[in-house]
């Protein structure tokens, strides 16, 4: 990977981090309604995926994917602020505030939206991929799933069907070690999700999801494989989320230290860039630019109007109006 590319990924990771930290701050102030799950700590995985997905590809983000949503929106739509506005439930959001954190979508940038029934889109992704195959389009359909989500039966139905039909599906499993409070090794027959994939004859790789260089290179290979018509591919990213559970941190202290201090994806990238001779100040500038951008997005979201009440009853059906009160 060349240095400009790495600097780009560094910027992307900072965009994700600043987005989530800004969001967290506003959530605590009460400006963001509903629930909040952040992708803090998982920036390298998301940046690596976003790096290789085109606007003509499709991704199904999960509940921690504000970052990848924002990156795609910023890159292909030029309006990343509309992801922020969606989370604030505003009229300017990508779904006019109807979807929120768990259902932000914009097909123009490849974002097909989360399904907050975790993992249901392991089934939906098949259809997007099948359509691409029928139409001979070299598109990738990517499902981003957590380790916990792997517990769902659709995991099997999806892998099996993608395998028998050679569908262009990229399974991106973000193994951050826990599903809420359930450690991956207790919730699954194997703590290594790839073990449960082997029987399907789908190429699988397990990788360090916090090393953005490795992650981006592996995603690149997977995407190349899929685009060239060779069928599905399964990537397991080992990573870790900063956000604990409700009652606070419950994970072992050494684990917390390892991931937050010794294995922070941005720090790892900073080190790699330093080795290549990129100056601290150049990186600092990148960081500051991105942070300012995010503050602009937050202001945009804050200042945006609430959705028109008529939106509440719009688009239930295409062919019918529904009654108002």
């Amino acid at each position: 990977m060349d240095t400009p590319t790495l600097i780009g990924l560094y910027r992307d990771m900072w965009l994700i981090r600043a987005f989530e930290q800004g969001l967290e701050r506003e959530f605590e102030k009460g400006n963001v309604p509903g629930m909040l799950h952040t992708g803090l700590g998982q920036e390298a995985t998301q940046a690596a995926l976003a790096h290789h997905l085109k606007a003509s590809d499709t991704f199904f983000p999960d509940h921690r994917c504000h970052g990848i949503n924002a990156l795609a929106q910023h890159r292909y739509g030029g309006d990343g602020e509309r992801i922020m506005a969606e989370l604030f439930g505003k009229a300017t959001g990508v779904c006019s505030g109807k979807g929120g954190s768990l259902h932000s979508a914009d097909p123009n940038v490849g974002n097909f939206g989360d399904n907050a029934v975790e993992g249901s889109y392991m089934a939906t992704v098949l259809g997007v991929a099948l359509a691409a195959k029928i139409r001979s389009q070299p598109n990738v359909a990517c499902a981003i799933i957590g380790d916990g989500t792997v517990g769902r039966g659709e995991f099997h139905e999806s892998l099996n069907m993608a395998a028998i039909w050679d569908l262009p599906v990229l399974y991106a499993c973000v193994n951050n070690g826990y599903a809420i409070s359930m450690p991956v090794g207790e919730g699954h027959a194997s703590a290594d999700i790839v073990d449960m994939v082997k029987g399907y004859g789908i190429p699988t790789r397990q990788l360090d999801g916090n090393h953005v260089i490795e992650a981006a290179e592996e995603v690149g290979e997977a995407v190349e494989h899929i685009r060239s018509g060779k069928g599905p591919y399964f990537l397991e990213f080992k990573t870790w989320r900063w956000q604990g559970i409700f009652a606070g941190e419950f994970r072992p202290e050494a684990e917390v230290k390892y991931w937050r201090e010794d294995h922070d994806p941005i720090m790892l990238a900073t080190e790699a860039l330093a080795e290549r001779g990129v100056s601290q100040s150049e990186l600092y500038t990148v960081e500051q630019e991105v942070k300012e951008l995010i503050e602009e997005w937050i202001s945009f979201a804050m200042e945006s109007p609430s959705p028109d009440p008529a939106k509440a009853t719009a688009d239930v059906y295409v062919g019918w109006e529904v009654a108002t009160r």
Binding site: V117, G127, G153
Partner: protein, 348 residues
């Protein structure tokens, strides 16, 4: 097996001919559906058909027969027993503009893909602010009366009645079956298309061309002035037969065939109810929480001053469907039950 030949808007009284020649001349409900699929495949390049054993085998009930040979495996696609993935596949394909038609072999198996239908298919147009549509059709065989037992006999419309975003279509005869299926495939809303198994062999003269029966419109299957019977699917031929018998006793019965269950044609239902002032609502599903409750409530509320007496409901009993035929006969409503309800209503 019931034999009907009602046409969409107006009922044509059937000429009784020898059964044999009927079969030669007329088209079965199954064939009408098959013909609709064939015409739609030819019209919509973006359409594909998907389900278990629907390709070479032509489906458990033969509805997809011949399509595989004509349109090939890419558009007529067999699946493993993965109902959630079948509907997920249709949902995803619909999101990118395809027009999938799924077959879920028995309606009872919709439980397997309930989440996909209710939380994904029915909501995607709304929750993503109109950015996606879900123009898919889920065809499925429902209903009892053949000793199929508790997992092959259910009337499932009640499972989806309280779910905004889904369209539920329920034909009662071959002509409507074809027209409604074509309209369902043309529609940009997701449709749950219910095919009552007892109707598959019913026959009628079905126009060979491409025609659509508008979704959301009921049909007055028989005009009358004393009592209205609102029914759908298999209850329609029963209601028509009961109406015929009632007319011999001087009671003039109007039969409204709902055809679309959600969103249903309240105008037609309510104007018939207001006209006669005496209403029977007939459904095969259990009474509590069923379509009959919805219709009875709506009619009772909106025709409050026109009603001569309470709406009378005929339904299946509040039980699963037992296997043994004599028990199943106790549980399911029959023509006699409809007649009894008409007699009660007529007295008001």
């Amino acid at each position: 097996m019931t034999d009907t030949d009602t046409v969409p808007a107006k009922p044509a009284r059937r000429e009784r001919k020898p059964r044999q020649s009927d079969k030669v001349r007329k088209t079965s409900f199954t064939q009408a559906l098959n013909n609709a699929l064939d015409l739609a495949m030819a019209k919509h390049d973006e359409m594909f058909v998907i389900g278990e054993d629907i390709a070479e085998m032509g489906g458990d009930f033969g509805v997809t027969k011949g399509l595989f040979n004509k349109y090939g495996g890419e558009r007529v696609r067999d699946t493993p027993l993965s109902e959630a993935a079948i509907i997920g596949t249709c949902a995803g394909a619909a999101m990118v503009g395809m027009r999938p038609v799924a077959e879920i072999m028995f309606a009872d198996f919709l439980g397997e893909c309930y989440d996909q239908i209710v939380n994904n298919v029915a909501k995607m147009h709304y929750m993503f602010d109109g950015q996606f549509t879900a123009p898919l059709v889920i065809r499925t065989a429902c209903g009892g009366g053949f000793g199929g037992g508790p997992h092959h006999s259910q009337s499932v419309e009640g499972w989806f009645l309280n779910v905004p975003g889904i369209v539920i279509v329920a034909p009662s005869n071959p002509v409507d079956a074809k027209g409604l299926l074509l309209a369902s495939i043309d529609s940009d809303d997701p449709v749950l298309f219910l095919e009552h198994k007892a109707l598959y062999r019913s026959r009628a003269e079905v126009p060979p061309d491409y025609y659509t029966t508008p979704l959301g419109t009921a049909a007055v299957a028989r005009e009358g002035s004393d009592v209205t019977v609102v029914a759908s699917m298999r209850m329609v031929p029963m209601a028509l037969a009961a109406a015929e018998k009632a007319s011999e006793q001087g009671v003039s019965v109007e039969v409204v065939d709902l055809r679309t269950i959600r969103p249903y044609d309240a105008d037609t239902v309510l104007s018939s109810a207001a006209k006669t002032g005496r209403v029977v609502v007939a459904n095969e599903a259990p009474k509590i929480g069923g379509l009959g409750s919805e219709l009875s409530a709506r009619i009772s509320e909106e025709c409050f001053s026109e009603l001569s007496g309470p709406v009378v409901r005929v339904d299946g009993l509040d039980t699963p469907i037992p296997f043994s035929v004599p028990l199943e006969e106790v549980v399911l409503p029959d023509e006699a039950a409809v007649s009894a309800a008409i007699a009660i209503a007529a007295q008001y």
